[in-house]
Amino acid sequence: MDVLKRNNVVVKGKGTQVMLFAHGFGCDQNLWRYVAPPFEDNYKVVLFDHVGAGASDLSAFEPHKYENLEGYANDILEIATALRLENIIFIGHSVSALMGIIAYHKSPELFKSLVLVAPSPSYINDGGYVGGFTKAQIEELLESLDQNHLGWSTTMAPVIMGNAERPELSDELANSFCRTDPSIAKHFARTTFLSDGRNLLSSVNIPSLILQCADDVIAPKEVGEYMHGQMKDSTLVMMKATGHCPNLSAPKETIDAIKLFLS
């Protein structure tokens, strides 16, 4: 298995210090298109697509392996091994932040620091913990996935099915960014929104940066505050950016915060 092909790994940049960017649920490495380039002058920038997203090898998808985030974390470690990466600055968006934390626990020697963009260790409210969603809401989400209710499949399918013989055409198709295989996206949603990595936070012993957006329905500010409270050597930055994807909606603010953390 060619790991680099499987995850559509792209290596850029003139530096030697590694920055490994992991995209979150619902998109692909395009998500970093405004954030990663400014680091290319001084860093070795590594980008990839999770299996099922973007230009990854869809045939490599195994439902059982990716039933929990450890499957995805193993892929991250395999990429690091394949490229002989060390001393990694890991930048994970959304659910990939937790994947990075899992990967760190499996091979702590590989990581230098963690940059967590709109992260969440668990999405469901639990006693005093505010995850952002009630159990009933997540159940509604999973049910709607099962019933194929949402656009998950109807809207994504035509994109995926773009003209394979003439790829240049599918680029002109509507909605052609952030391609996701619909059935894998459903599976990924289940894995993501049922994940719980809260018990992993307190044992993170490297510096970490938590970028918390304003008005993020996926990861509300209580989540960022909780993570900051649990992770010893963490820095919490409350961003002006709204929504769940500051890497797209506020790239400059995101870049500046990362640069400040790294300096």
Partner: protein, 373 residues
């Protein structure tokens, strides 16, 4: 022609306010971050809200939880990178929890520096369309399961035919043997009855063979040939002799020009020939002879069987070689209507053709094999 618009109406045509509010679809304008600046009364009405209440909400707050997550994780990035998205199906959620399905289009309006200024959304009701799609899906599922059931039934029927045909063979050959024994020992007084027995059992053997061949072709096996070089004239003479034995009152005239061995399945050619001669005897006038011609030259093999009789009815001609084709007014003489179908399959297996001509003078069936190039 002058446009027919009253002075009073004219003011609305170019009015943004009228365009935005008095329309069939929902319009929303949001800032670049997806916070609603203005929504029209249409979309507000669909979710039991008012434009005033919607102002300041995030666009994703209008949707069900799944849609909200889908919007924030997929659609918002898509919109930012691509500048638009088209025909996204989402469920609106009203203040009271009711869902209604809509199609959403969005575009990002950029300022002069190419930075996102605001977002325009057009929202169309999709309930009927989605219902229609759902119905299509359901119909497709039903049709598929029905087809599967039918196919199973057809397979069972064909298996039944094959088994039945096979099981009929044994008692039939017992009858034939008994007739054979009786004709060598019995007195002349039974000759007529024995002749009837012979004809009937020969006819039954033919029908059973046809049924089994039919079942084989339908079950995908097709007619399998065992080809070798045979002196075909001997085979044909044998068939004529048998027919003559069964129908001693009928005259069969033969004209054979086959000097070299023919590469074919002798058993199958005999079956084809016997079917054609038997048909000619059945359908020909009893007083006129059946003529049989066979020629073999330079790779051509032509086998023709002629009879005088009533021409083949027009309505039968087109489907004469299809299974179960028979004359409705004379069913008893036609058996199952499989004979010619089997013959044409045998011809096809030999890369040959079976054709016919039929008029008041004569009906002629011709089996032709051309030299292989």
């Amino acid at each position: 022609m002058q446009p027919n618009i009253s002075k009073e109406s004219e003011q609305f045509i170019e009015s943004f306010e009228d365009f935005f509010e008095t329309t069939l679809c929902g319009y929303i304008i949001a800032d670049a971050r997806g916070s609603i600046l203005r929504a029209n009364a249409k979309i507000a009405g669909w979710i039991n809200s008012t434009p005033k209440e919607l102002k300041g909400k995030r666009i994703s707050d209008l949707f069900t939880i799944g849609g909200k997550i889908y919007y924030e994780t997929h659609l918002a990035p898509l919109l930012r990178m691509q500048g638009f998205f088209d025909e996204i199906v989402l469920d609106l959620k009203s203040e009271t929890g009711e869902k209604s399905r809509v199609i959403v289009n969005a575009m990002e309006r950029k300022d002069k520096d190419g930075q996102p200024a605001f977002i325009r959304y057009t929202i169309l009701k999709a309930r009927d369309r989605m219902q229609y799609e759902q119905n299509l899906q359901n119909d497709k599922k039903i049709a598929e399961s029905q087809l599967l059931k039918e196919q199973e039934i057809v397979l069972l029927r064909e298996q039944l035919i094959a088994v039945l045909g096979h099981d009929l063979r044994n008692p039939l050959s017992a009858i034939e043997m008994a007739v054979e024994l009786l004709s060598s020992s019995a007195g002349a007084s039974h000759e007529k009855l024995l002749g009837t027995l012979k004809r009937s059992s020969a006819r039954m053997v033919e029908l059973v063979n046809n049924i089994m061949d039919f079942a084989r072709t339908r079950m995908g096996e097709g007619i399998v040939l065992l080809r070798e070089n045979v002196m075909l004239e001997t085979v044909l003479q044998q068939i004529v002799a048998e027919m003559q034995l069964i129908y001693p009152a009928r005259e069969i005239r033969t004209e054979f020009h086959i000097t070299e061995p023919v590469f074919c399945d002798a058993h199958r050619i005999a079956q084809l020939f016997s079917n054609l001669v038997s048909n000619a005897i059945t359908h020909g006038y009893p007083e006129s002879p059946v003529k049989v011609h066979a020629f073999h030259l330079n790779g051509y093999l032509e086998l023709s069987v002629y009879n005088n009789g009533i021409p083949i009815p027009e309505d039968l001609r087109e489907m004469l070689f299809s299974p179960f084709t028979k004359e409705i007014n004379r069913p008893s003489q036609n058996g199952l209507g499989l004979g010619l179908y089997i013959c044409s399959e045998i011809a096809r297996a030999h890369q040959g053709t079976l054709s016919f001509t039929s008029d008041r003078q004569e009906t002629c069936f011709t089996f032709l094999i051309r030299p292989q190039s």
